[in-house]
Symmetry: none
Subunit: 544 residues, 2 copies
């Protein structure tokens, strides 16, 4: 019994496909381990960015993916992209209609299916252990079967370029068979990633001329040429490009979605994304890296933190005359910004702009701005990161506005005398996590204890037990996100730990940071800032 | 007074130049700060690798570089490379013979000099603020002057491709002027990095045909195509490629030396390095990253740790038959190795191949392999990740070999009865972190307490206090790396935590994983595995 595919989004211009496989091929990168929730979040980001297709995984083969397809169709209202289920041609010697793996592709409900098919004779013989003719029949049968059930079908010709080199007639026969059976796009895959652009271009041009099929390209980055290979295929007539966010993928990785679409839009003058999408590219690239829990590559083209960072003195003086003298594009086009390195002028400018964003006018006060720049640099050297902790930055700013922390400028809703957390694993297998905090609030000394599912949770609860009767608004606060990063992880636990906490109060969220020798102490700092900011935000008057 | 250049090495085949600028352009990467000693070490690595030229810096302009050139010529016996001093054409309106910057280039003693010259009319006007004719005279004068003093001269035409697009006749005039004045190679630079391979190829071919000069290419990576751009220039007739180790450079970076030479040798069949050099590439890439104090990029083509790491189960089963089925080259050619990853995507083949990698022959036992695959998938669903925790995987494997943990198969060097950690922030501002562990070792009950800089460090020390007298080898163990990941980080601290620990014993390192409700409990698991594996590795007999 097959499920009828749901209509998952408005039709987009079908003449050029930006096909994203972050959730399928990208997940094959060493170090990535995506939960279903991660996949849903990434799918939302990709849809927001405006890719045409999101290959969500291999339902049936991978239980997490089966769940993903089910939940994605229930929980996400796709604005731009269509969901694609990935799978393989039926196994040799059977019928597509009886193949359970193929059935799972239909059951997923995805309106589009990509089938991987062997197109290299050696792989048919050694990996599939069947005949060249049977492989063609597997393609024909599986594609037709899916078409009969109303699915749109793309076929990935695995190892196409190696296969074309070994046996060009057979490789083309696979392409023709797939197209004739109803595949809308036949994707030529450089699966082992060993090709160079000139080779890709020549083969794609010949295959297009000889078969007339609509062609796509799937490039791996083993020679460091995946982006160029993708563009070379487009030059030769391909109208479907397969990429992954941040180039994640098996081995070295896949063609990186971001430099590919940036080249198509900014260099080729094509429109392959919705209006305004390109300017979101930097934000989306970082957001996906965050979900995947990988440090964003600082040196990624277009979106890296260093992509428009200028160091050489000569570059800086020219840029003062005109930034175009040393930038191939305006960074704002991709949502990035220019940065001057080792320059206090850039520091002042960002502080001023950030202050403006937070509703604090610093433009009149050069000395104050200079002091804030210094404190930020000091703190960043210690491991603080204000990029992802707006609320902690605002507290720092307000402290300087009031004359600096040394001058008693910190908000004083409460003062911490001491705290303690105990974590226990008992003989009977139970766990205990208990925390005690000693605070001074409005002249009164409070001792509060609470238990939790971990030391930080216990501290959080103890703080509330201590503070809530003085500050009722705290009851609405909830820890929404919590990230830990060990800085200079080498030489183990004698490192600095940075904790980022996101707190919500039902109407909004804010992020705070803490840096200390161990994760508990760092979490405490971030919690203190979170509560302080929450009270500031709720308009509560400081106690002192 | 000019210094006579020293003869710095045997003559190499001059028909193709591999020109390295790690020490000059590479040093412009955000985050790199090289001492003279660093530069000397890197120069030795580059010479060992066999590049033809090492551009050492800008003597005179940069005092560290002045010192580098002096010491390099005294302290290094170059086997393959020649030292190159980088500088600029003389300033407008003066004579080269009177220009102090030019004099410093001669004083450096380097036998080869690269001069950067403006070749984009707009830059001549806005940045140099002189006339187009004077710029040509600056080129002619400076090149001739250096030639008169016996230096070999290369000229870098800055912003060449942008300049060619704006004013092709002027750009070519700069090339001709440089060549006529005696420059051996005129290097066309994509300084802003905005070019794509097809554009590079067309321009290089035209300029070669129109000027007859020997051409080089210097590509920046802003579009993610620097390697491809470099190869496109070679395709069009360039015989001199400028690169940096690991692609270090201004903004995104420069063309990466390693995939460039690997393509030239392995794909083009050229000999551009000394015999045997390519097989040293992985080691040298990592060694240079070490000097520069940057984590080597795990996903770099050819030399990255993940470059030949295979995750998909289907890939593993094909690789069992023949590794060439999923690798474009034999990793040994570049000094790298194949690795099988065990993850939730793993299948039987991945487990067998991984076992083989670990020295355990599983080929005879299908039932055992099936059981291991099941346990891995179970565990991965709970949040374990074996990809980065080989030692924990090996312990799991060995446990299954002995009949499974339920059957008492776990290595029993010690049994944990209970543990407890206390973290305190005291009123006087001091911190205290104390842990107590209760263990059973060889029938004896041990209670050990220790302090540390954090709860995990304290637990680690307490374990040693408890175990070292029974197992002296544990004294050599050191925690080398420690990573924390909160899984399902949304809704704060009620999440699962995964900890990865890397431990070393002076002769090697191994990684273990722990997953639990909170970071302390997860760290405890990873520590237990780390110690168990350390004892196994030291050949200690289990207590039971």
């Amino acid at each position: 019994m097959t499920t009828q595919p749901k209509d998952t989004g408005p039709a987009t211009d079908d003449s050029f496909h930006v096909f994203d496989t972050t959730l399928r091929d990208g997940a094959q990168r060493e170090g990535i381990n995506l939960t279903v929730a991660d996949k849903l979040t990434i799918a939302r980001h990709l849809d927001e960015f405006g890719v045409s297709f999101i290959e969500g995984g291999w339902p049936g083969a991978n239980p997490r993916d089966t769940e993903f397809f089910s939940r994605a169709q229930q929980e996400i209202s796709f604005q731009h992209a269509q969901l694609v289920a990935f799978g393989a041609t039926r196994r040799p010697g059977a019928k597509a209609a009886d193949d359970l793996q193929v059935k799972a592709l239909l059951d997923s409900g995805a309106p589009v299916v990509t089938l991987v098919a062997k197109s290299h004779d050696r792989h048919v013989e050694l990996a599939l252990r069947t005949t060249l003719e049977e492989n063609l029949e597997m393609v024909r049968d599986t594609v037709s079967h899916l078409r009969e059930h109303g699915r749109r079908v793309f076929v990935d010709c695995e190892h196409f370029f190696d296969g074309y080199r070994a046996n060009p007639e057979y490789a083309k026969a696979v392409v023709r068979t797939a197209a004739d059976a109803g595949a809308d796009v036949v994707v030529l895959c450089d699966t082992n990633g060993g090709m160079l652009p000139a080779q890709i271009q020549a083969v794609v041009a010949t295959v297009l001329a000889d078969t007339g099929a609509r062609l796509g390209i799937h490039a791996q980055d083993d020679t460091g040429c995946a982006v160029a290979n993708t563009l070379a295929a487009v030059d030769a007539g391909a109208t479907h490009v397969q990429c992954t966010a941040n180039g994640y993928g098996e081995r070295v990785g896949n063609a990186n979605l971001f430099p590919v679409v940036a080249a198509l839009e900014l260099k080729y003058g094509m429109r392959v994304l919705p209006d305004g999408a390109l300017a979101e590219m930097t934000r989306i690239s970082h957001a996906i890296a965050e979900v995947v829990n990988l440090t964003p590559s600082t040196h990624q083209p277009y979106v890296g933190v260093s992509a428009f960072a200028h160091k050489a003195g000569l570059h800086a003086s020219a840029i003062k005359v005109d930034p175009d003298l040393y930038q191939h594009i305006d960074p704002e086009l991709v949502g990035n910004t220019m940065r001057m390195l080792v320059s206090d002028m850039a520091g002042r400018a960002s502080v001023e702009l950030k202050g403006k964003e937070l509703g604090i006018d610093l433009s009149g006060d050069r000395e104050l701005v200079g002091r804030v720049v210094e404190r930020v640099k000091e703190r960043e050297l210690k491991g603080y990161s204000y990029e992802a902790a707006d609320a902690s930055f605002e507290l720092l700013l307000r402290a300087e506005l009031r004359g600096g922390e040394e001058a008693g400028g910190a908000h004083a809703y409460f003062r911490t005398e001491s705290w303690r957390a105990i974590v226990e694993d008992r003989p009977d297998g139970t766990h205990a996590n208990e925390a005690t905090v000693k605070l001074w609030v409005k002249g009164e000394r409070i001792v509060a204890t609470a238990e939790g599912n971990g030391p930080v949770n216990a501290l959080d609860r103890a703080m509330r037990v201590g503070l809530e009767r003085f500050y009722p608004p705290l009851a609405k606060l909830e820890l929404v996100d919590y990230k830990v990063r060990i800085l200079e992880g080498r030489h183990g636990t004698e490192s600095t730990t940075r904790v980022l906490i996101t707190t919500g109060d039902g109407t909004g969220e804010w992020s705070t940071v803490g840096v200390a020798e161990n994760v508990i102490a760092a979490s405490w700092q971030a919690l203190e800032d979170a509560y302080t900011y929450g009270l500031l935000r709720a308009g509560v008057e400081p106690a002192e």
